[in-house]
């Protein structure tokens, strides 16, 4: 990337970039930068406030008295919060594993430029969990489990989260497949690879970054899910967001900020990894 910017541009590129610059100047609107800056401040201000106040010494979340990391210690020592966090991680891990395998298999069929009966319907069904409002999914799942008397504890949550995460795992995997050079698979077959060999030795390694990105996304979606967990989880299988919600109802304290900041840090790290994995290669 840096080599690109330091080397002198070829003449035709220089001409093109001058032209592009002119187009850019034409598209200049006064105050645009200010507007964008304001939107970014709007997006980040609440997060900054949340993080800053997690270091507040006072036991009232809104009253700044001094810097302290005590609330982190307290949050980490909070047994209920730790159990909830562990539940969240267990549910997210299991749901991610299942959703990613299921989504990969589906993407291998749906991402190709083939037509078969029921393809549109299959794609529609795959995106159903994204289209239906979460609260509707939540109560439908609740009714389903309770009508059939399915009480598997964390298992109920894992099933619900798997369903919900499938489309999110599916999207990056499909995108990766669509951008892949299919002639490599054909080459493998020309060299007498069995279908299974060409899948394992050619397709799968090429697809791996997409699968990883899909898994990251599914994990974040499951980890952050609140509404479905709130409705479906029974008393023994509270997840971290549901626990935070129950804490907020008793008033806001820096301890909630500390727990929230840690959850935020976890999500951001995962999304950063996802971003690095799914970035197009230059």
């Amino acid at each position: 990337m840096s080599a690109e910017t330091t080397s002198p541009p070829a003449p035709h590129l220089a001409k093109r970039s001058a032209r592009r610059r002119r187009a850019f100047q034409l598209g200049e609107f006064r105050g645009l930068t200010l507007w964008v800056g304001a939107v970014l401040v709007f997006l980040y201000f609440p997060i900054c406030v949340l993080v800053i106040y997690s270091f507040n010494e006072s036991r009232f979340a809104m009253n700044w008295t001094g810097f302290s990391t005590d609330w982190y210690g307290r949050a980490l020592a909070n047994r209920a919060a730790r159990t909830a966090a562990l539940n969240s991680v267990i549910v997210a891990t299991c749901a991610t594993a299942m959703a990613t395998v299921i989504a990969t298999a589906a993407a291998l069929v749906l991402a190709r430029r083939n037509q078969f009966r029921g393809k549109t319907a299959a794609i529609g069904l795959m995106s159903l969990p994204i289209l239906v409002p979460e609260i509707v999914t939540a109560i439908a799942t609740l009714i389903f489990f309770s009508t059939l008397g399915i009480r598997l504890g964390l298992g109920n949550l894992i099933i619900a989260h798997t369903v919900f995460s499938i489309p999110f795992a599916f999207m990056p995997i499909r995108a990766r497949l669509q951008g892949m050079d299919m002639s490599l698979e054909a080459a493998a077959r020309d060299l007498y690879a069995t279908p299974w060999q060409s899948f394992r030795l050619v397709t799968l390694p090429l697809l791996a970054p997409g699968i990883m990105a899909g898994a990251m996304l599914a994990f974040v979606i499951s980890l952050d899910d609140f509404i479905i967990s709130l409705m479906v989880a029974d008393a023994g299988s509270t997840t971290l967001p549901v626990y935070i919600f129950s804490m907020i109802r008793f008033g806001i304290t820096p301890e909630i900020n500390a727990i929230s900041t840690m959850l935020f840090a976890a999500s951001v790290s995962l999304v950063t990894v996802y971003w690095l994995l799914s970035r197009p290669r230059r």
Binding site: A105, I139, I166, I244
Partner: protein
């Protein structure tokens, strides 16, 4: 492409099977059961009587008075109206705030674009609950906004909660939650736009606002429609913003649904409200597909 693992019909359905089975059994079937339950009578213990009755839908519009007559009750219609109004307003604000951002990002060099897009998406991947909670701290009494205003004397000490627990607070929460969903699809459609068209319009003495209106926006319509649907649909079914920022009395449809399955214990009514919510979602999707097809045809002419 010839025979691969997923190319034969058998392999195809074997690979597709688990996804369709899982979503079918744990999503489609539950939705079907939900619709069925919405046509039943509630049982006092939180279950249902298994016989057909439209009473849940009647309850949405009417209530029974002392003489057991049906009287029109607009209470739930207000909640529907609030949901539609707030979701619509949030969508509009997201468009007005988000379009310039998408335009700005598209005109940066590629590496800056990626970073800016990443910055826009970060808050989106943050927990919904945490985001709403952050706004409680900001908007609430003695909060980051309230305290300086009070100190400056703009707001008297009697203003108890600032703007927390008002429709405005819900609106802020909705805009904050869904803004990235407006920016991303508009960005995607602007990225494919040929800037020479903008240039050509300027060469023909169009001023930049006119070029924007007559050249850029029409070409970006698919992205704008996608952004509108991506913001409007989840905003309509939102639960958290109203729950945390609207206080207990300003319900949206999502909260009404949730209440029926927690404290009110009226499953058929909750299911009926969910079905009504779902109908609005389907209607928005249908409108979106129709508009998209229409503009797609016009653009390809």
């Amino acid at each position: 492409m010839s025979a691969g693992l997923t190319e034969t019909p058998a392999g195809r359905w074997l690979a597709l099977g688990p996804a369709l089975l899982v979503i079918g059994v744990f999503m489609l079937v539950p939705l079907g059961i939900m619709v069925t339950i919405s046509f039943m009578e509630p049982n006092v213990y939180g279950g249902v009587h298994r016989q057909f009755s439209p009473s849940a839908y009647v309850q949405f519009l009417y209530q029974r008075d002392f003489d057991d007559n049906l009287v029109f009750n607009p209470g739930y219609l207000y909640i529907l109206g609030r949901s539609l109004g707030l979701a619509g307003l949030a969508t509009l604000i997201c468009f007005v705030a988000g379009f310039p951002v998408a335009w700005y990002i598209v005109r940066r060099p590629p590496h800056q674009r990626n970073v800016l897009i990443f910055l826009v998406t970060i808050p989106f991947w943050t927990n919904l609950l945490i985001r709403a909670y952050a706004w409680i701290i900001i908007l609430g009494r003695d909060g980051v906004i309230d305290t300086p205003l009070r100190w400056l004397g703009v707001m008297g000490p009697e203003a108890s909660n600032g703007i927390l627990y008002t429709n405005w607070a819900i609106l802020i929460g909705l805009v904050y939650t869904y803004l990235p969903l407006m920016i991303l699809p508009i960005y995607a459609s602007l990225e494919r736009l040929d800037f020479r068209l903008f240039e050509a319009a300027s060469d023909l003495y169009s001023n930049k606002w006119a070029s924007m209106r007559h050249v850029v926006i029409p070409l970006a319509l698919p992205g704008i429609f996608a952004g509108v649907i991506l913001v409007f649909v989840p905003a309509l079914g939102d639960f958290i913003s109203a729950q945390l920022l609207g206080g207990s009395r300003r319900l949206m449809l999502g909260n009404l649904v949730q209440l029926q399955f927690s404290t009110a214990r009226n499953w058929p009514f909750g299911a009926a409200v969910a079905v009504i919510l779902l109908l609005f979602v389907v209607a928005s999707m249908a409108a979106y597909l129709r508009l998209n097809r229409k503009t797609g045809l016009e653009l390809s002419k």
